[in-house]
Each structure stands twice: as C-alpha cells, then as structure tokens.
C-alpha cells in the first residue's frame, strides 16, 4: 500500500506509541483487503461503548489510551452506552454497572470524542455528505449512511473505527470504491408496508436470505428516513448488509449497474410468516421502542398515543440526548412521563442490562431488536406495530 511521508512517520513511531499502534492496525487491515492507499475520513462513529459489550478488558484498553494523551483528529461520535447517562439511577440501572460505564465515557471524552451516544448520529449532528468517506461502525448507522445518504464506509469494528479517528484515515477498499457498491441481488417487494415494523420485518427476512450481499429493492412504494432506518437496521442484524439500494428512494439507485441480477420475491405472505417467527412470547413486561434511536417524529407519535392515558405496564422509547432535549422542549417528555412511560436517552435495549432489571418479555417494533434480544438480553419477544404494542400496555 502507498503511504505518504507523514504516514510512514506514524508507522515508525515518530508520532507516539498510541498513534503507531493504531496506525499499524489499519495498515494491516488495508494490506489484508488490498487497499492501494489511505484516505482521509470526514467523520467517525465508534462502537463498543457499553460496559456490557466491552467489559473490563475494553475499559482498561480505552483508559490506557486516554492516559497517554491520545486525541482524535476528526469529528467522532459514539454508539449507545449501556445506560441513560443522566437518569440511570431513576430508571433502575445497577450502580456498579453505572460506575464502570462512566469510566468508559470519561476515557472517550478525554480523547476529544463527542460523548453523545447514539446509533443515529445523522439525526444528532454528525451528518456526512453524499460520497464523503467516513469510518463508522454501528451496523445500522453504517447501513443508513451508505444507503440513504450515499456516504462511503465499511462496517468498521469498534477498535478499527477508533484507530481511524485517531489517525484521521481509513484504508481505501471495499465500500469506499464505486465498483464495490454495485448491487448483487434484486429484491422484488409486493406488499403494503404501513408501519415501521413492516419495514423491520422486511429487513429481517431479506437480511437472513442475502447475508452480506448488496440488495437492490424494487417495489417499495414510499418510505421516509424513519422507515429506511428500520429496514437497514434489521438487514444489518439478521445478515451483514452494509449497503442497499432502493428504486426511487436512495441516491445511488439510478447510477448502479442493475442488469442480470439474481432475484428474490417478497410478498404479504412472507412478511406475515416473519412476524410469526419473530414472536417468541406473549404479554410483554415492558415495551421498548426506538431501535435504532427514535427520531423526533417517532417520539411525537408516541406522545400523541399516550396523551391523557395511563399505562399499566412500562413503555420506553430510546433516543439520542439531542432528540430527548427537543422532546423536553416540545412537552412530549411530560406527556409520556405523565402516562407512566419514559424517554430513555444515550442507550438502547440491546446494549443495556434489561435482563438483570427483572424483565423477561419485551415488546418491540424493531426487526433488529427482535433479532438480538433473545440472545443478548435473554428476552422473549413480542414483535408488533407501535399501535398494537402501546394499546396492549394501557
């Protein structure tokens, strides 16, 4: 791989031990994947933030790096933490867990990383442009930025994204290259998609079938950013889809090569079967919305549903701190809390320790959450649309 003079200095340790180690990691990755050179990145999003995910080894790794005065070179955001960083005590997150989570956050902050924890950085102030090279790691954020925005990123591991932030660079391979962004399978959709959960079910089904291919969707009549975020998140969880195209909806769909693709069909029947498959429980102890993190539109919708109502069982909606503050200002938080629900910021159900908070069955409208909750959080899952889920808790 071609390295500039400055990059060679980094590799030889002239710019410090941490920079050398981190640069060595991405040079190695670049060599493995046949990158021709390093490219500057516009922004980074780092996964591996929850104490539940990275444990003591990850915590010590980050603290060690922060103690050596390491600083990131570009705008860097974080994936969700394992708890609400402000209201953790009130929401019942365990104290020991909180102590370790706060250690992790302060290590990140020391490195100059913006300590807002969200899987939707694009809704919270880290918005790449079309064709911008970035190094993001959370799988749904990777899918959204590649597919809906048309920015370019590989699916980075937590440490390789951190290395990109510290070095300001990433190796030029994979989805950074136009020829690697071409679709490899066509998906014909013949079904009405009304709720975000319908997009989640579609994504779950397609991800299972196509694994790490690049799907080109035809027949999705209309979808906004909330729906496309649900679709991409589910496909990245049940498969390893980092990029999809959708006719008439995503920016690269008109530019790609679409001839001669293998085709799969998805109709109403397949979606109904997916709903059945994802339902492993009944009568949820708690309903958790906001996977990926809710937009202000989704919070407003829940607030409308809960206006002047009383919940018998808890409903949470997870979101970024920025959206939470907007919800506070709009009075949505007050309405939701008055009904007995909660807006939970900075975290999500998948990375928080809900299994140790007494919950056994969780209701979700997210294909991604339905995919992960059984193994990560030992939950039975009720997968349904938001209307059904919320009405069931009243």
């Amino acid at each position: 791989m071609y390295l500039t003079k400055e990059e060679e200095k980094m590799l030889e340790g002239e710019k410090g031990e941490v920079l050398e180690k981190m640069f060595r990691l991405i040079v190695r990755l670049g060599d493995i994947y046949d990158a021709d050179k390093m490219i500057p990145v516009g922004s980074v999003q780092v996964a591996g933030v929850s104490y539940k995910s990275i444990g003591d080894p990850g915590t010590v790794f980050l603290e060690d790096m922060a103690s050596k005065d390491t600083k990131v070179q570009v705008l860097t955001y974080l994936n969700p933490a394992g708890m609400d960083l402000e209201n953790w005590d009130k929401l019942g997150f365990p104290k020991d867990f909180a102590k370790n989570q706060l250690r992790i956050m302060s290590a990140f902050k020391k490195m100059g990383i913006v300590v807002t924890s969200t899987c939707t950085p694009y809704l919270a102030g880290n918005l790449p442009r079309f064709r911008e090279h970035i190094a993001w790691s959370e799988s749904s954020a990777v899918s959204f930025s590649n597919s809906v925005i048309g920015a370019r990123t590989n699916r980075e591991g937590g440490p390789s994204a951190l290395a990109a932030a510290i070095c300001g660079r990433t190796p030029n391979y994979g989805l950074h290259l136009w020829e690697k962004r071409q679709p490899t399978i066509k998906v014909n959709v013949d079904a009405d998609l009304d709720f975000n959960s319908d997009f989640g079910a579609l994504g779950y089904l397609v991800g299972k079938q196509v694994k790490n291919k690049i799907p080109y969707f035809v027949g999705i009549k209309n979808a906004g950013t909330d729906q496309l975020k649900a679709l991409g998140a589910a496909m990245a969880a049940s498969g390893a889809v980092a990029l999809y195209h959708a006719e008439g909806l995503t920016p690269e769909a008109d530019l790609i090569e679409k001839d001669g693709l293998e085709t799969i069909d998805v109709g109403k029947k397949e979606l109904e079967e997916t709903y059945e498959k994802l339902n492993t429980g009944a009568d949820p102890d708690i309903v958790i919305l906001g996977c990926p993190h809710a937009s202000i539109r989704e919070i407003a919708y829940l607030s409308e549903k809960l206006k002047d109502k009383k919940l018998k069982k808890p409903v949470w909606i997870c979101t970024s701190r920025m959206m939470k503050e907007t919800a506070d200002r709009m009075g949505f938080t007050e309405i939701i809390e008055k009904a007995g629900g909660n807006i939970v910021a900075d975290t999500c159900m998948v990375v928080s320790p809900i299994e140790s908070m007494g919950y056994k069955t969780t209701g979700v409208n997210s294909g991604k959450a339905a995919n992960y909750l059984p193994s990560f959080c030992k939950q039975k899952v009720v997968f349904a649309n938001i209307d059904k889920l919320v009405e069931g808790q009243l």
Partner: protein
C-alpha cells in the same frame, strides 16, 4: 495448506471446527471462552487453547473487543483459521495478538486434529 496471513505468530493445538459462521458478541462468553450462541454447532464448547476453525465472522462489530477480552481473560483460542476473515475478526486477532490465517479450505480440518499454525508463513499443517 497455504493461505493468507491475517495476524502473525506460530502456534500448535487441537482443532475445534464449526461449519457455521461465529458472531463473537453474544456468541462467545469472554470470561469463560464458552460458546453461548443458542443452536450454534459449538454451543457449550470452550475455545480456550484450541485452534478455532470457522468459515467467517458474523454479527455485531463489537466482536473485536470480545476477541481481545478472551485473550486478556486467558481463555482465548491459540489460533484462528478461516475461509474468509472479515474486518471484525481481523481487528480482534491483530489487537489480541492471536495468530490467524484465512483462505484455507476448512473442510480438510476435522474436530480434534492436531494443527501447526504458522501464520508468519501463512501455512496450516495437519500433524
């Protein structure tokens, strides 16, 4: 067998083989090294000190930290052999310093085989 070096080093051990991909986050307990992925062919087995053989990684990008954690907790496999190593596993093995080679026809390797893994020379030898 000749492959591609992902992470350097030389080691020897007993093979534990999965014909299905492994997702490390939520798939292997970093404290014990035991496979916890429900329904996975290796469920309940321990990867400690083994040569772990599987086609490719899958799932969450946090998997790299799990591999690093396995090493720090002393329950890591001695080496990893893949058909195709993707970035999550590659990052994990490089950080943890676990020898790893890919582009190997893993169907040639059986559970319990003694394997010499010489990642420096990208070679895998059945003893």
């Amino acid at each position: 067998m000749k492959g591609r070096m992902i992470s350097p080093g030389k080691t020897e051990g007993t093979a534990i083989v999965s014909d299905e991909p492994i997702g490390f986050y939520g798939g292997i307990d970093s404290k014990t090294g035991i496979v916890i992925d429900k329904g996975h062919p290796l469920e309940g087995k321990c990867v400690k000190d083994k040569i772990l053989v599987f086609p490719c990684g899958k799932g969450s990008t946090v998997g790299s930290y799990v591999i690093y954690g396995l090493k720090k907790n002393g329950v890591a496999p001695r080496g990893i052999i893949n058909e195709e190593t993707e970035t999550i596993v590659a990052t994990g093995v490089i950080l943890a310093g676990i020898p790893c080679v890919d582009k190997i026809d893993i169907k040639q390797i059986k559970d319990g085989d003694t394997i010499l893994l010489d990642a420096d020379n990208a070679s895998v030898t059945l003893q």
